[in-house]
C-alpha cells in the first residue's frame, strides 16, 4: 500500500459492511463509499480532470467532502481543501495560487464565485445537493498504476509571516506515513467512531480523517460546531473519539444540560490547535468524566505528538511524546541540542512532512534544515520524553486553533481608503487565548465598527480585529520596524 487510492481500496475491501461516513440521518458503508468515489472519479473525468490537475474542495465536513477527496486521489489529481470560513477574496487567492482548474462546492459558494471563477477560467460545480450530477455518473474502471508514491496528493496552506498563506504540498507517501504514525501510536481500530466537527479541510482534521479511513473507523460528520448536537451525536452514534479545540471543550464544560445523555462510549477526547488551560482540562473532566489529551501538529509535518500517558493529572500541560516514526529535538539558537529539560526551538523530522513552501525558497531554507522542520515553537522535553510548549518565535496570532498572519490583516486594513498605516498583533484574552488587535493611523475620522465591517467583507471572521485602536503614529525602531510589543 503506497498511494492514497490503494489505502482507500484496502479499507473498502476490508471493512465493506462497516459504517464509513454519517451525516445527519445519512449513513454510508465502506462498500457504498467505494461505489460513490468511483462514480465521483467518473464525473471528474467527464469534466476533463486528469492526473496532476488541482481541484479545490470548498465543502463543510460531509459525505461529499469524503467522496471528493478520494475521487480526486483516484485520478492522481491533487486535492486543495479550502475552509468554508473564508471570504470571496481569500478563496480567490487559493484558486489562483493553486492553479486549480475546478472548484467543488455548494450552491451558496458557487453563486459567490460565479463571476470571478469564470474570469480565471476555473470551473465551479455544485456537488453538495441531493441530486448532484456526480451521483448519476456511471462507474468506471480506474488504473492506479499511473499514480506514484512521490506524486503530490494534497495542497494545504500554512499561515506565516509573508502576508499570504504558504502552500504546503504533501505526497501520497507523506499521507500514508501520516496515517501510520497516528494510528500506530493511538491504537485506533475499525470499531472506532470519530466525530468531526473540527474542519477536515484543516491539517488537524485532515490527519484524523485519513487515519480514520486507514483503520476502517466511522467518520461522524458535523458541519458546524454546536454543543447540543455534539452531545447528541456522541450518544446516538456511540462516538469513541472526539478531536476538538479548547474553545469547544470550554463551551461544552460550561453548558447547562438538563438531561445528560449517555456519553460512556467516548474514550478519547483530543485537544489541539491552541494551549489547553488547566481550568478547561479540569472543568471538562469534572463534567464528563474524561480527560482531554493534548495533541501537537503542524501543517508542514502532520501530527507530531500526543499525550496518552497514564499520569495525565500531573502532565495535563504536555502535548505528549512524539508519535511513532517522528523525531523531535529541542535546539538552541546555534542549532545544537539543549540539555534535557531546557527550553529551545522544537525541530521535527517525520516521514509525513513536506519538503518546503512552493515558490518561497528563502522561507523554505529558513525552516527546513538538515532534514528537520524548525517549527518556530519554543518548548522543552522532560526526562520521560513529554514535550511542553512554552512559547513561540513565529509572528502569528492563534485564535482558538486558527492561525492568523498579522501581515495578511494589515494588508486588508491598509487597503481601506482612510487607513494610512496599520499594525496587527495578538493580545491575551482573559481565558489564556489570544485576540486580534489592530492599531491604525488614519487620514480622517473613522469608526472602529466600519473597520471591522470592512475586514469582515474580506477576511474569515476569526481574522477580523476584535480590538481597533487609533494612534497618531506607530512606534518604530530606528530601522523603521514597527515595535509591536509597545502596542500590546
Amino acid at each position: 500500500m503506497k498511494t492514497v487510492p490503494e489505502l482507500f481500496i484496502s479499507a473498502v475491501n476490508k471493512f465493506s459492511s462497516s459504517d464509513a461516513v454519517t451525516e445527519g440521518d445519512k449513513r454510508v458503508s465502506y462498500e457504498e463509499l467505494g461505489r460513490f468515489v468511483n462514480r465521483f472519479s467518473s464525473y471528474l473525468t467527464s469534466l476533463g480532470i486528469k492526473k496532476g490537475d488541482k481541484v479545490i474542495t470548498l465543502l463543510p465536513n460531509s459525505i461529499e467532502f469524503v467522496v471528493s477527496f478520494f475521487g480526486i486521489a483516484q485520478l492522481g489529481a491533487v486535492s486543495v481543501p479550502v475552509s468554508t470560513a473564508f471570504k470571496k477574496q481569500e478563496i480567490q487567492f487559493f484558486i489562483e495560487h493553486s492553479g486549480a482548474s475546478l472548484v467543488l462546492t455548494d450552491e451558496g459558494f458557487a453563486e459567490l464565485l460565479k463571476d470571478s471563477a469564470s474570469e480565471s477560467g476555473t470551473l465551479v460545480t455544485v456537488v453538495k445537493e441531493d441530486s448532484s450530477d456526480w451521483q448519476k455518473s456511471d462507474e468506471i474502471q480506474l488504473d492506479f498504476d499511473c499514480i506514484r508514491p512521490e506524486d503530490e496528493a494534497i495542497y494545504l496552506y500554512s499561515t506565516g509571516s509573508t502576508g499570504k498563506p504558504k502552500r504546503v504540498s504533501r505526497t501520497h507517501t507523506n499521507l500514508l506515513a501520516l496515517a501510520d504514525n497516528h494510528t500506530q501510536t493511538v491504537g485506533w481500530n475499525e470499531s472506532d467512531r470519530v466525530l468531526f466537527t473540527i474542519p477536515i479541510s484543516h491539517t488537524y482534521g485532515f490527519g484524523n480523517f485519513i487515519s480514520s479511513i486507514k483503520i476502517g473507523a466511522a467518520i461522524v460528520t458535523l458541519g458546524e460546531f454546536n454543543r447540543h448536537k455534539v452531545l447528541d451525536l456522541v450518544e446516538k452514534e456511540s462516538v469513541t473519539i472526539f478531536p476538538a479545540v479548547p474553545v469547544m471543550l470550554d463551551a461544552l464544560a460550561r453548558t447547562h444540560i438538563k438531561e445528560p445523555g449517555d456519553i460512556s462510549s467516548l474514550k478519547l477526547v483530543i485537544s489541539a490547535g491552541a494551549p489547553l488551560s488547566e481550568h478547561i482540562f479540569r472543568a471538562f473532566h469534572s463534567k464528563f468524566g474524561i480527560y482531554p489529551r493534548q495533541l501537537y501538529g503542524s501543517t508542514e509535518t502532520g501530527v507530531i505528538s500526543i499525550n496518552l500517558g497514564d499520569s495525565i493529572e500531573e502532565r495535563f500541560g504536555s502535548v505528549g511524546r512524539a508519535v511513532k516514526n517522528v523525531e523531535v529535538l529541542i535546539l538552541d539558537d546555534n542549532g545544537q541540542e539543549v540539555q534535557s529539560g531546557q527550553v529551545g526551538e522544537i525541530a521535527v523530522k517525520s516521514p509525513s512532512m513536506t519538503t518546503g513552501y512552493y515558490g518561497l525558497p528563502e522561507e523554505t531554507a529558513a525552516v527546513f534544515k538538515n532534514g528537520y522542520y524548525f517549527t518556530g515553537d519554543l518548548g522543552r522535553i522532560d526526562p520521560k520524553g513529554y514535550i511542553y510548549i512554552v512559547g513561540r518565535k513565529k509572528l502569528f496570532i492563534n485564535i482558538s486553533g486558527n492561525k492568523v498572519d498579522p501581515g495578511e490583516v494589515e494588508n486588508v486594513l491598509t487597503s481601506h481608503p482612510l487607513v494610512k498605516e496599520a499594525a496587527v498583533l495578538g493580545v491575551s484574552d482573559d481565558k489564556g487565548g489570544e485576540l486580534v488587535k489592530s492599531v491604525l493611523v488614519t487620514e480622517d475620522d473613522v469608526e472602529s465598527g466600519e473597520i471591522m465591517e470592512y475586514c469582515s467583507d474580506r477576511l474569515a471572521g476569526y481574522k477580523v480585529p476584535r480590538i481597533v485602536e487609533f494612534v497618531n503614529e506607530l512606534p518604530r525602531s530606528p530601522s523603521g520596524k514597527v515595535l509591536r510589543e509597545r502596542l500590546k
Binding site: 460546531f225 453548558t255 482573559d430 472602529s448 465591517e453 471572521g461 485602536e469
Partner: protein
Amino acid sequence: MSQDTKDRIKHLLVQSVLKNMKAADIIDDSSLIDLGVGLDSVATLELVVALEEEFQVSIDEGEITPEILESVNCIEAFLSGKS
C-alpha cells in the same frame, strides 16, 4: 425584563465580544452588528455561553440569527421569550 437585564447584557458583550468598549457606551437600540458583534463564530459562541450562565437559560447556537444580535434591545427580547 428591565434596564438591569440590559445592563447585564452590555456587561457580557464587553466581556466576550466588544473588548475595547465600555458597557456604558453601548446604547440600547444601537446596532451591535456595526460594532462587530456576530462577525466571529468563536466570539458569538462565547457570548451565547455567557448569556446562558448569566440568565440561566438554554440557548442553541443555531437559534442565534443576525436579527437577535442587532441590538441590546433585540437580545433582551430574545431572552424574554426564553424565560
